[in-house]
């Protein structure tokens, strides 16, 4: 049928751990995104209020972008550790 990876992959005993961690972090980020969309729709005037010298909307938007990067680094750190621990 021609499926399966294009290169040979070794067994990954950490895949279960990584999948579970990914789901937790996904849920965490999704909640932050849902709150952002919720405030924009239900309480848009709050987005105009000042927060650390910026509008709340700018601050929240920047936090969403930067936190995606931070969570990605955290995720990679724990995944790499799990791969070292379980696959070696």
């Amino acid at each position: 049928m021609g499926h399966g990876p294009a290169v040979k992959l070794g067994e990954d005993k950490a895949s279960g751990y990584k999948a579970k961690l990914g789901v937790y972090l996904f849920v965490f980020y999704t909640l932050a995104y849902v709150v952002f969309v919720g405030i924009s729709v239900l309480q848009p005037s709050l987005m105009e209020s000042a927060f650390m010298g910026q509008t709340f909307a700018v601050a929240y938007g920047m936090v969403l972008i930067v936190s995606a990067f931070v969570l990605a680094i955290v995720y990679n750190h724990f995944c790499s550790r799990a791969e070292q621990r379980l696959n070696n």
């Binding site: 992959l9 924009s40 700018v58 938007g61 990067f69 990605a72």
Partner: protein, 645 residues
């Protein structure tokens, strides 16, 4: 004309094209196997792949569209940046490693990995083609649009150049050459966008944006007037002539008046005041019945339609100032927040001799610009408006991780860890770029560079305000942006035809050599179709097709991907049904939407449905279809691995 052709831009673009073609022909000698052609041998370094992800993903819509939207509508344009980036979180945490583990060459491979189902092979291939074509058309039309003002060539030449170059890139070395084109484009986009933003911050803000002394900002005039006893309008400047029907004509009824001075027309917005009337100068364009277009009363080449965008009242630490000098990123944003910026509203008036579009000044507080609400109605919004907003944000969130031309990049790296790391590089690069879009958009908004007839040119025009060299680089980069994205789309589409349909669905037993040949022939055919579509859609605003691509990808592909990964009872029939339901419902709802009704030339209010963004209906519907059909077909679910055992 707001901009002129730049030989330097042509030179840079030609240099870039020759470099990527040279690289493609070099790599072609090493691309002899199907794995080499479709997945670059699975040996691309994760960092290169991560930047190539950025080069693949940051299309002309991101670079030109988002900057333009922020320049004219503030934070609502930045919402796209936030939503598009959030989609990468879905890709990293849920999709990246399993895609690498399950798939071989195409997105269909991953969906079909457990089933070997003809239904999945067919529906996923159709979905890939549909999404890729929707994405492809605006890129090709965009190439034609870019080539006209920047290189002085007709639309079809731009489409042909991009189509031929991209087809050569893909048909020579497939994913290998595509990867390096995207890597170079992604890297250059980040570097030069950063340079542009540093320039914007270094220049700071001013109420008289003279582009560093290069070009004086047009001073918009204001007049006062009173109505005489005979009803005639008596102006504070009597050198202007006022028509007798100033109040009863089509323009007058819309709140404007046409004045004439030295034989030249101008249109003014009329506001009633306690002492009479206040008149504010506008910009206007007119399309006459014979198709002639006039800009501020004159042909385009006379350059009467000047660029706009300025701070009206600039406040630093509560004090009004004329200019700020260099600012840091946070200082720039807070200065905009505390100030008032002149934005521009638009009114279309039907007159006897044609259609007049009037752009009027709309001073807006910075705090309102830096929050949602200027483009999307969120204050005192109706249920439908709320629904539309949520649905759009859902499509942006769910679409990225389901775009076939993005997902196939997971097959080019050697391991699951590399797939994960390359996604992290992509998030860093794309997130950084999206932060830059806010500064580029606001920079265009406040530096007197916006062409109100085409806000997509805001980023190149902002670069022009720093001199022709940066303009030429950014302009040629805009072409490179199209090349990078289109090459990824053609690889995805040709893979769907050659690998999913010919090899898997129709069961043609091809040798490895013939698989490569089929891929190359498919790439040439898809490239020719892309050129044809790019030419026939000339003049049409097709940017909405990217929105369609996201909505269809989110509805048709993501539910199938997620349920295969996280629900063991998923069956092949469930997956195929989910793809069809997602595709049909998303497309059906889009075709019945008010936006489409307007495109058909009908009244949007008469559209059968009242919302434009379908994801909030079509995504749950697709999930539901998968669950119901999977539950009904449990007995038929015999995984291949079990059969083999």
């Amino acid at each position: 004309m707001i901009y002129a052709q730049s030989p330097l831009a042509v030179g840079l673009f030609v240099t870039f094209v020759l470099s990527v073609l040279g690289l493609s022909f070099y790599l072609a000698r090493r691309t002899t196997s199907a794995a080499g052609y479709y997945a670059a041998g699975g040996q691309i370094h994760w960092f290169v792949n991560g930047i190539a992800f950025a080069g693949d993903y940051l299309s002309a819509a991101s670079f030109l569209g988002i900057c333009g939207m922020i320049a004219t509508a503030g934070y609502d344009g930045f919402l796209y940046s936030i939503g598009y980036l959030a989609g990468w979180v879905v890709a990293l945490f849920l999709v990246a490693e399993p895609m690498k583990r399950l798939g071989k060459f195409t997105f269909t491979d991953a969906l079909d990995s457990k089933f070997n189902s003809k239904g999945i092979q067919l529906t996923a291939a159709i979905s890939t083609l549909l999404v890729s074509v929707f994405y492809l058309i605006p890129q090709m039309v965009g190439a034609g649009v870019l080539v006209q003002p920047l290189l002085g060539m007709p639309h079809y030449v731009g489409v042909l150049i991009v189509g031929i170059v991209v087809t050569l890139i893909v048909a020579t070395a497939g994913m290998a050459s595509t990867t390096y084109v995207q890597f170079m484009k992604g890297g250059m986009l980040l570097v030069f966008s950063t340079i542009l933003v540093v320039g914007v911050l270094g220049r700071g803000l001013s109420t008289n944006p003279d582009q560093g002394g290069r070009k004086a900002y047009h001073e918009f005039k204001a007049l006062t007037a009173q109505a005489g006893a005979d009803g005639a309008l008596q102006l504070s400047d009597p050198s202007y002539a006022v028509p007798a029907d100033w109040k009863t004509g089509a323009l007058g009824k819309a709140g404007y008046v046409r004045l004439t001075k030295d034989g030249r027309d101008s249109v003014w917005k009329v506001k009633e005041t306690a002492g009479g009337y206040a008149l504010a100068e506008t910009l206007f364009s007119k399309e006459l019945s014979d198709g002639t277009k006039l800009y501020n009363g004159l042909p385009k080449e006379k350059g009467a339609f000047f660029p706009v965008g300025a701070v009206k009242e600039l406040k630093i630490d509560g004090k009004e100032v004329a200019q700020t000098g260099p600012l840091g990123p946070l200082g720039f944003l807070s200065a905009v927040k505390n100030s008032t910026v002149t934005l521009w509203g638009k009114t279309i008036v039907k007159e006897g001799d044609g259609l007049t579009t009037v752009y009027y000044q709309k001073p807006t507080s910075g705090a309102k610009i830096l929050r949602p609400g200027l483009k999307f109605k969120v204050d005192n919004s109706t249920g439908t408006q709320k629904f539309n907003f949520i649905s759009l944000m859902l499509a942006l969130f769910c679409g990225t991780a389901a775009l076939p031309h993005i997902l196939i990049r997971y097959y080019t790296v050697p391991s699951q860890a590399a797939a994960r790391k390359s996604t992290i590089v992509a998030i860093s690069a794309i997130g950084f770029f999206y932060i830059l879009t806010l500064f580029m958009g606001l920079g265009a908004m406040t530096n007197g560079v916006i062409n109100l007839n085409d806000d997509n040119m805001s980023a190149p025009l902002l670069a022009l305000s720093f001199g022709v060299v940066l303009f030429s680089i950014i302009s040629s980069l805009a072409f490179a942006t199209v090349l990078g994205t289109v090459s990824g789309l053609i690889v995805a589409a040709s893979g769907a035809v050659a690998h999913d349909l010919m090899d898997n669905f129709f069961g043609m037993k091809m040798s490895d050599h013939n698989k490569v040949l089929a891929g190359k022939v498919s790439a040439v055919v898809v490239g020719c179709i892309a050129i044809y579509l790019g030419i026939i859609f000339e003049g049409m605003n097709v940017s909405f097709l990217v929105g369609w691509a996201f909505a269809v990808a989110a509805s048709a592909n993501l539910p199938a991907i997620l349920m295969i990964l996280f629900w063991k009872k998923t069956t092949a029939q469930g997956v195929a049904t989910s793809i069809v339901v997602g595709m049909v419902s998303a497309m059906g709802l889009i075709l019945l939407s008010p936006d489409m009704w307007a495109l058909y030339g009908k009244l949007p209010a008469n559209a059968p449905i009242s919302f434009n963004s379908p994801a909030l209906v079509s995504v749950p519907l697709s999930f539901l279809a998968l669950v119901v059909v999977s539950m009904l077909t449990q007995k038929a679910a015999v995984p291949v691995t079990a059969k083999a055992a």
